[in-house]
């Protein structure tokens, strides 16, 4: 393994600017999370063994996510999920999942570096996202556990709603778009972080 200190996350260069956001908005990259893409028939025989590995059943309601404490499982499609896991757990988790799946038709792909994850929180978080996202993130429309793949400004994004007051979100953005995303976010937060 490389020296982990030499690793560079997509938003490494933006950490100071994200950290400087204050008041109604807080944002920070959660770098190097393990992310596995899982393709599986949720009604097939592999679903249960996989649920056992994850400690939670795969969510089958579109645009939702479930957490097991260790893993966060995001619905991406009727036979597709994104599993978020602690940093560094990709190899073991992939082996465990592939064992659970056996010879069933499925796919497990390590996509940990494909996207980076940003936690966005604070009372201004929903308003900030509303500047670039057409999804209704009002708690009445997007309750805790909602997980939408959509567009934010001009980048694709996955938005996971982490509470019932629209003040805590996980945002997953493609790594090559991460700097654009961060620039957009810092720009959009101007009024929200200005002292009232």
């Amino acid at each position: 393994m490389a020296d982990p200190r030499a690793r560079r996350s997509p938003l490494a260069g933006w950490a100071p600017q994200l950290q400087a956001l204050n008041g109604a908005i807080r944002a920070q990259e959660l770098p190097f999370l393990t992310q596995l893409n899982l393709r599986l028939d949720s009604g097939g025989p592999a679903a249960d063994p996989v649920a056992k590995v994850l400690g939670v059943s795969l969510p089958t309601v579109p645009c939702t996510s479930v957490g097991s404490g260790v893993y966060e499982v995001l619905w991406l499609g009727p036979d597709e999920w994104l599993i978020l896991a602690p940093a560094g757990s990709a190899p073991e988790l992939m082996i465990a999942l592939r064992e659970a799946i056996g010879s069933e038709h499925a796919a497990v792909t390590d996509v940990s570096a494909q996207r980076t994850t940003v936690q966005l929180s604070g009372p201004g978080a929903r308003e900030l996202l509303a500047k670039g996202c057409a999804i209704d993130l009002h708690p009445a429309a997007s309750p805790e556990g909602s997980c939408v793949q959509t567009l934010l400004a001009q980048t694709g994004i996955i938005i996971v709603v982490r509470d019932g007051t629209a003040t805590d979100f996980l945002l997953l953005v493609r790594s090559s778009f991460a700097e654009y995303f961060a620039a957009w976010l810092v720009d959009a937060s101007v009024e929200l972080t200005e002292p009232a």
């Binding site: 579109p62 645009c63 991406l76 499609g77 009727p78 597709e80 057409a134 999804i135 939408v148 793949q149 959509t150 567009l151 694709g156």
Partner: protein
């Protein structure tokens, strides 16, 4: 900004979708047996009615699923959306 109802994710803005042309034009069973004219008809010719037309769409910025929709080409109204494999529903124009 029109809304398109993805059969999985629900209504989303049209910019999340890509168009895939006329639906229910299946790939020929055995292209080698087709005459040039028959093959050209499959490759190049599509219906262009004023009114309902069954089309393929993909929720490109969302769940990446292809699906079918019946759209009234004169109003853009989506009269029905249905998943791949489901029969084309009857629509009232």
């Amino acid at each position: 900004m029109q809304l398109i109802r993805c059969p999985w994710c629900g209504s989303r803005e049209e910019v999340e979708f890509h168009y895939g042309g006329q639906a229910h034009v299946s790939y020929p069973e055995n292209p080698a047996e087709l005459s040039d004219a028959e093959w050209a008809r499959y490759v190049f010719f599509r219906a262009n009615p004023r009114g309902p037309l069954a089309e393929r769409w993909v929720h490109a910025a969302g769940c990446r699923r292809w699906f079918n929709a019946v759209r009234d080409t004169s109003t853009h109204e989506l009269l029905a959306v249905y998943r791949i494999g489901e029969p084309q529903p009857e629509v009232a124009r």
